[in-house]
């Protein structure tokens, strides 16, 4: 066998692409699961993702260590999340509108501070090659798995267990299902929601750092194009279940990899339409899973988006 896989290249490239593209979806959606389980929604994660990409890239470039970049992105994301959480604690403030404003602010700040970092080259995050057993270059390329993807996969199970079996998980679920019940238990819903939003923001920041530090692996103003927002929709699709988020992220990643894959094998007809595939998929999933009459199964009771 001399590396000629014929049409098998396409599914292989999509699987490989899915693993590469899904990581930001995975991180943003895991963070948003925590936020939404606490009863609040953060649409600003798109801005957080972009700012995380910028700050991660900038710090990785300045320090020479991609991991410092990831940490910086997480910290910035946490600050953005905390800001969102605290502002939404004020009475009469609409969390969806604040999310849109945070999106604009996050992007504005990222583009503002990111201008000097468009040209320089920062060190990449490391990847583990699981394709060592094969001589075929495409298989080797497809099985290059980034460490963050593996961390995200493990986190999905950890968060699932945490929500199910720990006190923190119980507190989060109570606060998300009923503010009154939470108050009756002596919990402070606004504080818990602000913290959950901050953690969600930190996750989104890491997702952004993955974009700029691994795939596509450079910083520019068009780096995200709605992935943060799609991840918010993905959480609804995954029914607020972290493990389902992992599967959904892979699915969305596969849809996102469709366009580049087809282009790489020479099919460029309708490239832009394939580029729209993840958005169409997200919209289709939303339409299929929503209902005009009943609240969605598994939805936190306090969530404004499903009420």
């Amino acid at each position: 066998m001399d590396g000629d896989l014929g049409l098998w290249v396409i599914p292989l490239a999509i699987i490989g692409g899915a693993i590469r593209v899904s990581t930001p979806f995975l991180f943003v959606s895991l963070g948003e699961v925590l936020t939404e389980r606490s009863g609040r929604i953060n649409l600003g994660l798109e801005g957080t993702l972009v700012f995380g990409a910028m700050s991660g890239y900038a710090l990785a470039y300045l320090t020479g260590s991609p991991w410092i970049g990831v940490a910086a992105a997480a910290l910035c994301g946490a600050i953005f999340g905390l800001l969102h959480g605290v502002i939404c604690s004020l009475p009469k403030v609409n969390d969806i509108a604040v999310g849109i404003a945070m999106m604009i602010l996050g992007m504005g700040l990222a583009f503002y501070f990111g201008k000097p970092f468009v040209q320089p080259v920062a060190p990449d995050l490391p990847a583990i090659s699981f394709g060592w057993w094969s001589d075929v270059t495409q298989i080797r390329a497809a099985l290059q798995v980034n460490v963050l993807f593996l961390i995200g996969a493990v986190l999905a199970f950890v968060i699932w267990w945490m929500l199910r079996a720990t006190k923190i998980g119980l507190v989060l679920r109570v606060v998300g299902d009923s503010t009154d019940a939470a108050r009756a238990m002596g919990l402070r819903p606004n504080l818990i929601r602000a913290l959950a939003t901050a953690v969600g923001g930190a996750f989104a920041g890491v997702g952004g750092a993955y974009l700029s530090l691994y795939y596509p692996g450079s910083w520019n103003e068009g780096i995200s194009s709605g992935q943060g927002l799609m991840a918010v929709a993905l959480v609804i699709f995954a029914r607020w279940n972290p493990i389902a988020c992992f599967g959904a992220a892979l699915l969305f990643g596969g849809a996102g990899a469709l366009g580049p894959t087809l282009q790489s094998v020479g099919i460029s007809e309708g490239y832009y339409l394939f580029f729209a595939a993840p958005y169409v998929l997200t919209l289709g999933v939303l339409i299929a899973t929503s209902s005009p009459t009943r609240a969605m199964t598994g939805a936190p009771g306090e969530l404004s988006i499903t009420k």
């Binding site: 849109i100 604009i104 929503s290």
Partner: protein, 369 residues
């Protein structure tokens, strides 16, 4: 609220345009204006941290946006699409819907205008123009109307769906402009074939501002009449306040939702039409210029009041018009205006929490203390 306060509020509302009424209305002007100033202040602190002088920034904005006749014309040209884009947010907002994907209707309205304009070349302009405009508006209406329909009939969150559809619209435009509708003569920047001279929208006589501005202002006034003076606007407000109550009263909530979103979309489509017929001359990627997103901020700043949209849109258009001057003189990145918008938007939303907190704006409570 105790009985006295309710009775007092009732008496106050019965005296039309008395002092008390004006005082209560003042809240809706003073609070956003104050929030705007706070947003500017936070941005000034941001600039100071960068070692830039806020005074220089704001004086340059004034010169670039409002200082001369030339800068006024530049500002007003930019205000035209912003007026229309903001209406696309403000109309559905009456029903409590947060539609943020107006950009999609602008883009597709523009593509539709470009394509029909080419198809109708040769037809007398007096006949062709209304058709082109109508089709651009229809495309916009269908695009955002679909968001409303999905919301009402399927319960799909309109904020997320409209934004996803904006991304889909941009991909669709790129596909059409790079592929089926591409003019082979457009080399570096793929575009549709340019519109004939007769099908272009010109300038208001004596000004360097195209007619889109007039249409924008007219649309704002009509939208205000629709919202404030008609039963549809009233019904929409009831449905926005409490959908159950509206259904119990037999209001056609579904039609209201689809109608108001479609109308918003049609107006955004009109913005796309003017971008093509008055500014670019053909449909290309410049259509996705971010007007839809600035429109969200304008609508929120104006508290979804169509008449208030006019001054707010002109203000924000002035900021955008001065952007180039500010960048050159102060060596700031082009995202500076976006940062300013972000701070202002945050400040405006935070100010929502202050409504009803100040006794000065509630005449019925004046004597209580």
């Amino acid at each position: 609220m105790d009985q006295n306060a309710i009775r007092a509020a009732h008496t106050v509302s019965q005296t039309p345009l008395g002092l008390a009424t004006w005082v209560r209305r003042a809240e809706a002007i003073v609070l956003p204006f104050g929030a705007l100033l706070v947003g500017f202040a936070v941005f000034s602190i941001f600039l100071l941290f960068q070692g830039k002088a806020p005074s220089e920034f704001f004086s340059l904005v004034y010169r670039g946006g409002f200082g001369t006749a030339f800068s006024w014309q530049n500002t007003l040209s930019r205000a035209a699409p912003l007026l229309l884009a903001a209406l696309c947010v403000a109309l559905p907002a009456r029903l409590g819907l947060v539609v943020i994907g107006g950009e999609g209707a602008i883009v597709l309205g523009g593509v539709a205008a470009g394509a029909t304009g080419v198809a109708l070349s040769g037809m007398p302009a007096g006949l062709a123009m209304p058709i082109i405009m109508f089709i651009a508006m229809m495309v916009g209406a269908i695009w955002i109307g679909a968001v409303g329909a999905l919301r009402h009939f399927r319960g799909v969150n309109e904020t997320i769906s409209s934004l996803l559809m904006a991304y889909i619209a941009i991909a669709l435009m790129n596909h059409l402009v790079e592929g089926p509708l591409r003019d082979p003569a457009s080399l570096n920047k793929p575009s549709t074939a340019p519109l004939q001279e007769a099908l272009r929208v010109g300038n208001i006589s004596g000004w360097d501002v195209h007619w889109g501005l007039v249409f924008g202002v007219i649309c704002c006034v009509l939208a205000w009449v629709l919202m404030e003076k008609t039963t549809w606007g009233f019904a929409a407000r009831i449905a926005g306040g409490n959908i159950r109550a509206a259904q119990v009263q037999g209001l056609p909530v579904g039609w209201l939702v689809v109608g108001f979103t479609a109308l918003g979309g049609a107006i955004a489509g009109l913005a796309g039409f003017f971008e093509v017929a008055a500014v670019h001359g053909s449909a290309n990627a410049s259509l996705a210029g971010g007007y839809g997103y600035t429109g969200i901020l304008i609508a929120f700043l104006a508290r979804h009041n169509p008449l208030a949209i006019i001054p707010v849109a002109i203000l924000l258009a002035g900021f955008e018009a001065s952007s180039g001057l500010v960048q050159r003189r102060m060596d700031l990145p082009d995202a500076t205006i976006l940062v300013l918008q972000g701070f202002v938007f945050m400040s405006i939303l935070i100010s929502e929490t202050l409504y009803g907190r100040f006794k000065i704006f509630a005449p019925e409570r004046w004597r209580a203390a």
